[in-house]
Subunit: 336 residues, 2 copies
Amino acid sequence: MTAPTTNHQFKLARRPVGMVKRSDFDYTQSPVAQPGDGEVLVKILYISLDPAMRGWMNEGKSYIPPVGIGEVMRAGAVGRVIVSNDPKIAVGDHVVGTLGVQEYAVAKGKQLTKVDPRLAPLPVYLGTLGMPGMTAYFGLLDVGKPQAGETVVVSGAAGAVGQVVGQIAKIKGCRVVGIAGGQDKCDYLRSIGFDAAIDYKHQDVQAALKERCPNGVDVYFDNVGGEILEAVLTRLAMHARIVICGAISQYNEAKMRGPSNYMMLLVTRSSMTGMVVFDYASRYAEAAKEMAGWMATGQLKTREDIVAGLETFPDTLQKLFKGGNTGKLVLQVADA
Amino acid sequence: MTAPTTNHQFKLARRPVGMVKRSDFDYTQSPVAQPGDGEVLVKILYISLDPAMRGWMNEGKSYIPPVGIGEVMRAGAVGRVIVSNDPKIAVGDHVVGTLGVQEYAVAKGKQLTKVDPRLAPLPVYLGTLGMPGMTAYFGLLDVGKPQAGETVVVSGAAGAVGQVVGQIAKIKGCRVVGIAGGQDKCDYLRSIGFDAAIDYKHQDVQAALKERCPNGVDVYFDNVGGEILEAVLTRLAMHARIVICGAISQYNEAKMRGPSNYMMLLVTRSSMTGMVVFDYASRYAEAAKEMAGWMATGQLKTREDIVAGLETFPDTLQKLFKGGNTGKLVLQVADA
């Protein structure tokens, strides 16, 4: 194999206003960097596109620092090691980590996790066996605390996190209702075992929730915020738990919208709790092992939406925010 | 004593739009009703004015049914029994209960609680030893779960609930910051042991919180909602607990305002939980005993703002929503 010399990268050019767009990035090429001591050079194969990326582009206090102007856009990715100065990692190993939106990344070996493409396709390590799956697992089980027989509602249900939330809730004996946009996504949800699916683009969500959740909503896993959060607040059971995981409907809005009926928390003695998956890092391995087991038995299915071509990155990211994907959205950068 | 014949009452005439006003009520007089079996006739001495009353006037689902049009306005009150058909209650006993905005009330004996005016002045049984005190006690301790050394912030701090929240938090070893409107209220808060007071009418609440809560806010007991809730959300410590007790700033608004920055719950892994005091009814006696002990030792001070005259009810209720009271607002209906 010829050593690569050129690295294409997407760098953050400016802080987006409203919907993220191509001109918010610079698409550049530069020489491939060489790894130093303890570092490896990774050829990136798949890049994870996540709603959280929109937040990382904004100035201001959050759970991690924003991406700096001129820096390579932050992203999770999976790739193959082509140079290694870390004795624990071999050339040819596959690894995941925060590698950025680019073709080649230099990273410290200890910040990477080895994955095995014989156990699961590589994109799955960015989805169900990656951060979205961990988010679903810990957000639902540790924060939502569903009990068998309870009703669990998840929004963004056909997305990377939502599809896993719903299936874990089913495994735990809950009634599960997914909210997603469009008939195809709703069909997908029913095909993976959701008890009901609500198409927010064509249905009155509040009325549909009343019909589909006759005993109210015990756990709501919120990925979207906005009107859907308000609709679910009107249908809470007593002592319900809302898991605040994301608010994708709001990330590209100039002004975030808060739930005007949050006092339903008082009426129903319910709670709304924020979670960030990084807090559970010490337990990722435990969760991944359990989820891999569920995948092996067919209880947990997973779907990825793979778009080819690094250069499509800004458009593919827009697709995410416009709800164009079913399952985990992944950018394929190279074949192998 | 001559038996009373005429009962003045305030009945709900219509559902208020915006700020409650005199024309939302009918001030009527009718013959005093006679108690049936197991019932007593109470001469009302003091009526409790509470922010929750505004919600009871609205149509729609809440934690108790709304007051019906034409019904006597619901209110807690304390009075003296003048006729008793309940063997457990004697004429001359003082009782508290939901007796309504009127001079005389017929009530089932078992729905009343006897109180002793030798242990505390009667208005205190509507405040610190009544529902507001119970709300403060259980909301802070059971929902907020403050730990010694943590920072507790309370809004509506000079009100019936707020003054008690802050003092209990001090008893539990917390740093306590109260938010209230005006210099007099802030002076009052400092006089009863608050570490700091923020005057939201004359200070930038967010900047003041930054100064007064250098380690962030661990517990926020919210009585007001609106801008102040948003300001506190920007200053949360990690794993903070927000107790949603009320939203007095919003009750008279046509459209409730939700906290647009509720995603700070995610950034700080915090929770926001609603509470209603009625859930703790089985533990009122336990709480009242502990609070009476704190009052006896001077650790818990209490202040009531007493306005005389049943006929002032609509204006006095407006005073509550305009923040005119310091301490528990009570309407005095009769001397004894």
